[in-house]
Amino acid sequence: MLTKPPLLNLAHWLPRSRVNGPGERFVIWVQGCGLACKGCWNPDTWSFAPRHLVSAETLMGWISATPGIEGVTFSGGEPFAQAGALVHLARKIREAGLSLMIFTGHELHELRSDAAVELLSLADIAVTGRYVESERDLTLRWRGSRNQRVVCLTGRYTPSVLEAGTGETEIVLGSDGSLVFTGFPERALLAR
């Protein structure tokens, strides 16, 4: 008998972003991370308590309904803490011809479980390593600290993508005046 894949526990999602990987991307911030890096952007994503529970099918429906995107990015939270559930979504993303980028606080050698290895095999780019506050450098593309690495895992992208830009910030200004900051914003930008 086929078992249903587990639901994904999400913190946030943004249908379009230009600063979370190459090109225009659908970005998913998963809920739950046990690493608790000091100075983390998103401490609200640490708790593993259910926040937005969504099936891979539903999420893929949202992604498919977003025209003109180059790929999908998993951020968080820690994507590999729910690698089993994300594998189902990652397969669908690849079947749709979209690229996949994953932010993780782990180093590649720490990702040993079957689900983690499978999820990694479906990714085109992984940004790896803990966020280390003393190594903070917001001029780097797609990284918050100098110890983190951008690893191209398939031939779809080459390390030259890193040379095409620096650390960027994106702000979505809503019709009610609300603001969503994503990417790598410096503190002075967030201060009112």
Partner: protein
Amino acid sequence: MSAYIVIATPMTDRECLLAALRDVGLDAKNIEIHDTAVPLVGFEGTQREQVANLVIRRQFVGASSNDVGFLATPTGYRMIVSDYDRPRFGADWQAKLAERYKAHADRKLAALVEVTERQKIEEERARLVEAQRQAIQEKAKKLGYRVVETREGENLRLVLVRRTY
């Protein structure tokens, strides 16, 4: 990880802000209302540099506390709270206040039957969005970013690219 940081809907309506402050446990009779901003007072009784239009005096905040205030700005009320009082009026408290403010603001808008009144609120929102946009543009330029703007439905997307020259 990349950041996802939400800055709640700006609080621009004094009546809704006062209602929200009551909801989070502040007694209305202890909130001073000033059309022109007045100086806040520190725990030792000395005037501080900061000014505010809504003021909760230190004796109603706590022992050894400083005044807490809300200053009216073109992009909404800005809360002024000292480091000493931040544990009580920190991110969680402010998030709750923002949530209650939004509930009151939405209710107020829904209750308006007069088309002209609704239009006035919508115009105020449009003015606020423009003020936010200009504030971001100015801050970004000062910090050395180039800003690329794209309109997407009702939202405006601003990508801040660091200048490398």
